[in-house]
Symmetry: none
Subunit: 175 residues, 2 copies
DNA sequence: GTCCAGTATCCACTGAAGTAGACGCAGAAA
DNA sequence: TTTCTGCGTCTACTTCAGTGGATACTGGAC
């Protein structure tokens, strides 16, 4: 039952970031570019939050820099919607990767949401934010009591109805 | 599941390191000194591992430096026997602190120094196994609008607060 | 073919993290 | 008392993480 992941090799920081780039991206296109991520982090952070340059992203991903500061790490993690501990802790990394697979499967099942036909580039941005927000919610579920989760499930079902989304059959259980 | 801890959870990096200094030390004496920790890390690491100077320890603990590199963090965490994610992730920090309290209570009776030889992350396996309810919610998130997801995130955060769970996400609140 | 927009990579520069020595201040021993 | 030892703090210096512009490459539009 614990779909035992057998990626035994303790992956390096570069490999972990590369993995995020490969796995997390809009469904209808390829991975993010360094400039994209850097700019998104810059906008999302505003004035208070930490930012990361495209150069730093490239250097960390390619292994040229192996010892970033925690603020850099947190900024990157926040963009991809994963806890910063993902880069430091094998256990956290495995759990996150497992959940990422679940979310990816769920997203492909429900199909792409239809969005306003505005600027196609903004459409992609909205897609990205959606994925990121899903992860933000999903990670917050850990530790909640079954009772609370049941209540939340009902709430989400109601929200789905409001937004005109189909019901989720409980038979869906992509292993 | 962790009983709702009421202790004032250390939040900032400085507070967390200070907490480790206060909690983890030989039973028959006071806390470690910076020089002690620095030298112990130096010896324990040998030639390959990362080291930390006494100045760095003091600066981080007092808040003079708030953005260390991950190798510095890992070296400190290794000495105190806690996962490096302790400094970044509230959930990990709470779990470790709970375990530390247990060990301290047991150690003060037996007169042994407080250490963390065991892996404090084994508890997370239970969380993973209890994920069926989480999956049920997560599946329903796919396709929802960013606006709805943001609202749900707030709801989940409130539920977490009600159940005494720590906040999720970037723990940093750079003053 | 020529542009052009977007990409990854490289690299000189800036600034902050890390270092290690100096300093002052305790408390204990002589 | 003085001396010594060990402590935390401070700080000049070194090192390297982070930045951002330059560069070259690619694929598509014309």
């Amino acid at each position: 039952m614990p779909s035992a992941e057998q990626t035994p090799a303790p992956r390096s920081l570069a490999e972990r970031l590369d993995h995020l780039f490969q796995v997390i991206h809009p469904a209808d296109r390829g991975p993010f570019s360094y400039h994209e991520v850097a700019q998104a982090i810059r906008e999302q952070a505003g004035t208070d939050g930490p930012t990361v340059s495209h150069g730093t992203l490239q250097q960390i991903r390619t292994g040229a820099k192996t010892n970033p500061t925690i603020k850099t790490l947190e900024a990157i993690a926040a963009f991809f919607g994963v806890p910063a501990a993902y880069f430091l802790d094998d256990t956290v990394a495995d759990r996150v990767d497992a959940r990422l697979r679940e979310l990816k499967a769920a997203a492909t099942q429900s199909g792409r949401p239809v969005r306003l036909p505005a600027d196609p580039r903004q459409d992609e941005l909205a897609d990205v934010l959606a994925d990121s927000n899903i992860r933000a919610v999903a990670f917050r579920l850990a530790g909640l009591s079954p009772r609370a989760l049941k209540g939340l499930r009902a709430i989400v079902d109601q929200v789905r109805a409001v937004e005109g989304l189909p019901e989720v059959g409980r038979a869906k259980k992509a292993s």
